[in-house]
């Protein structure tokens, strides 16, 4: 393999890896606030893409994307308020099944609203064949959009958690829910907020990546599994590590096409998930000690 092709594969891997990282961060936000793995996480990405495509028909592109993020954020809040907020101390099994049910309902609703057709936004700059030459490597400007927008979103998110009152309240809740409540923080509102943030960041990812990957009513589930793989790989709850883990999975998947036909691409990433779960469930960046203290 010549080095140019090698870098081409790396760039493709980074594009996908970015989206996996975004999904993983979505998982982490909700997990930190509630201890729940939200199986409907991939659906937020799908909703972001689908809504943006629909809105872009009569709104300028940036407004359409912002609108899609807003709509998905509201849906995130509605999901929490309807299905999660009012339950008291639900068991893990119950929460798993409820979020799976939610993901099915969202997917089926999307099927009835948008049909089975595959959709995409136009490329933000140029067309699908426009490319920027960097050395001997060609990069589509959309790849830069994906990486750039996601990076901004992640930085903004971490600024929010570190420098705003609301963000600190959320972290306090994640660290010790009872103590936070004693300080007058509404834990329930923080959970709702975590669903909104998680939906919002998922929608941003879904909107920027859909010119490249396209979006369909059922594109959420594979993303959820891969995002979860990345979240585990980085150590659950650790969003900085998720970015690195996302790159690893994305690049690994992109190179797997060498070894196996593209139809088995998902088999590779899920086998990796199983492998990590069996060998090192605390993730490659996480500490085993810390993982033992968590609920599962």
């Amino acid at each position: 393999m010549n080095p140019d092709l090698f870098f081409q594969y790396v760039v493709a891997g980074i594009t996908y890896g970015t989206i996996y990282a975004v999904v993983a961060i979505g998982f982490n936000i909700i997990y930190n606030a509630t201890g729940i793995i939200n199986f409907a996480q991939g659906e937020f990405v799908m909703l972001g893409g689908m809504t943006a495509v629909t809105l872009s028909r009569f709104l300028p592109l940036p407004v359409a994307i912002l609108g899609a993020v807003a709509v998905t954020t509201v849906i995130g809040a509605v999901i929490d308020i309807l299905f999660i907020r009012w339950l008291r101390g639900p068991s893990v099994l119950r929460m798993i099944i409820i979020t799976i049910g939610v993901s099915i309902l969202v997917r089926e609703a999307a099927l009835h609203v948008w049909g089975e057709s595959v959709r995409a936004l136009p490329y933000f700059t140029g067309t699908s064949v426009t490319s920027i030459k960097m050395g001997n490597v060609y990069i589509s400007p959309q790849v830069l959009w994906v990486v750039g927008v996601s990076a901004v979103a992640v930085v903004a998110l971490s600024a929010f958690f570190n420098y705003t009152m609301l963000g600190r309240q959320m972290r306090a809740c994640a660290a010790n829910r009872d103590a936070a409540r004693l300080c007058g923080i509404s834990a329930k509102n923080m959970v709702t907020l975590s669903f909104m943030l998680s939906a919002g960041i998922g929608a941003i990812g879904g909107a920027v990546v859909c010119p490249i990957t396209y979006v369909q009513y059922d594109s959420g589930t594979p993303l959820a599994i891969k995002g979860f793989t990345v979240a585990i790989l980085g150590g659950i709850g650790n969003s900085a590590a998720a970015v690195g883990a996302g790159m690893i999975l994305g690049i690994l998947e992109s190179f797997s096409i060498w070894v196996l036909p593209a139809a088995y691409k998902e088999v590779i990433s899920i086998s990796l998930l199983l492998l990590i779960l069996f060998i090192r469930p605390s993730g490659i960046f996480g500490s085993a000690e810390e993982a033992r203290l968590k609920e599962f």
């Binding site: 008291r88 099944i97 049910g101 993901s103 997917r107 089926e108 088995y264 069996f278």
Partner: protein, 355 residues
């Protein structure tokens, strides 16, 4: 002892009554969907043992169903006659291979369905042991994701593999002649015997599982569900029991896959889809988790309604909605006397009794 078999007799009576009713109203065509729902029920009661009694969730049981179905489909349709050497002639004489005539009058040499069935079920159990070993060490979300991952892997493999028919699946699977004059096939003339065969198997499976859950092993499984560490401390080999329950439920799923594939004459990748796995869990949940009879009755009803197309394009949505509603309002299932009380408890805010 008698108390345990009374419901079995009552259920057998119900099965006969349904057949009589379709006979006298001349609506025998309903039996086709009822037979199919019997095979799905076989899977559901096996899953009930695992999820309800042993407390181990599996979101990958459609994978085991597909493994059974695809193995039997492959073995009974793959023509070996071009390679007919001495060994295959000997195998044919021993009954392992059999000749049959295909649709176009050509002669096919394929594996006999009995052998294919045996291989398929054994392979399913073998895979269940191999996968279950590491997977069942996980708990909660990790277990759910790992089994979901297993299901997706099987789905992707059957969807992406050329000799498994890719998106089309495998068709023209021959009937499975269990006894002379009794074969598992979708022929209209054999509708009634097939209906009884399928439900007879389900009842046999129920008797097996009912005895199991009331035995030492069954109580051990329930104790694992209740508190795994405590069970371990009491000297119960929890890992081994969980694995056995997993393998047994996989065997039920594999057998169901084999028989339904012969009954339908084919199998496609949709049988391995995640949605199917979720659907089976939904049936166990609405049946009341640790409730074999509830699971069986709900499986009979919901599969029948779904196969007859009563849910239309909302088929998957109905199962998703059922799953959510049950888990929100009645985590102990529907078929119970204290249902209303529990719903009230949920609204009062202490509804974590039943799960």
């Amino acid at each position: 002892m008698r108390g345990r078999y009374l419901p079995v007799a009552a259920f057998a009576g119900l099965i006969v009554a349904i057949q009589m009713a379709t006979h006298f109203t001349g609506s025998g065509y309903h039996l086709t969907q009822l037979t199919m729902s019997a095979y799905y029920s076989l899977l559901a009661i096996g899953l009930c043992l695992l999820v309800g009694y042993a407390g181990q969730i599996s979101l990958g049981h459609a994978g085991f169903f597909a493994i059974g179905g695809y193995i039997t489909a492959l073995l009974t349709t793959h023509d070996l006659s071009s390679r007919a050497g001495g060994a295959s002639r000997w195998l044919a004489k021993a009954g392992i291979l059999s000749f049959r005539i295909d649709l176009y009058g050509g002669e096919l040499l394929t594996v006999h369905p009995w052998v294919a069935c045996l291989v398929a079920v054994l392979a399913t159990v073998g895979i269940a042991y191999a996968v279950g070993g590491p997977v069942l060490k996980l708990k909660g979300h990790y277990l759910a994701m790992a089994t979901l991952g297993f299901g997706v892997i099987i789905y992707r493999i059957v969807l992406g593999t050329e000799f498994l028919g890719a998106a089309d699946g495998i068709s023209e699977v021959p009937p499975f002649a269990i006894l002379p004059g009794l074969e598992v096939s979708g022929k209209a003339a054999l509708r009634v015997p097939n209906y009884y065969l399928a439900w007879g198997l389900v009842i046999a499976g129920m008797v097996l599982l009912l005895n199991l859950i009331h035995s030492r092993e069954g109580r051990a499984l329930s104790s694992i569900h209740g508190a795994e560490d405590a069970a371990e401390a009491m000297g119960i080999p929890t890992a081994r029991y969980k694995l056995s329950a997993f393998a047994l439920s996989a065997a039920f799923a594999g057998l169901a896959g084999v028989l339904l594939t012969h009954y339908n004459g084919g199998i496609g990748p949709s049988e391995a889809s995640v949605m199917k796995s979720v659907r089976y869990v939904a049936i166990v949940a609405i049946g009341g988790m640790a409730n074999l009879w509830g699971t069986l009755l709900m499986s009979l009803l919901l599969n029948y309604l779904s196969l007859r197309g009563y849910f239309g394009t909302y088929d998957d949505a109905v199962f998703g909605a059922i799953l959510i509603l049950i888990m929100l309002f009645a985590p102990g299932g529907l078929l119970r006397r204290d249902l209303l009380e529990e719903v009230r408890d949920v609204f009062r805010g202490n509804g974590e009794k039943a799960s």
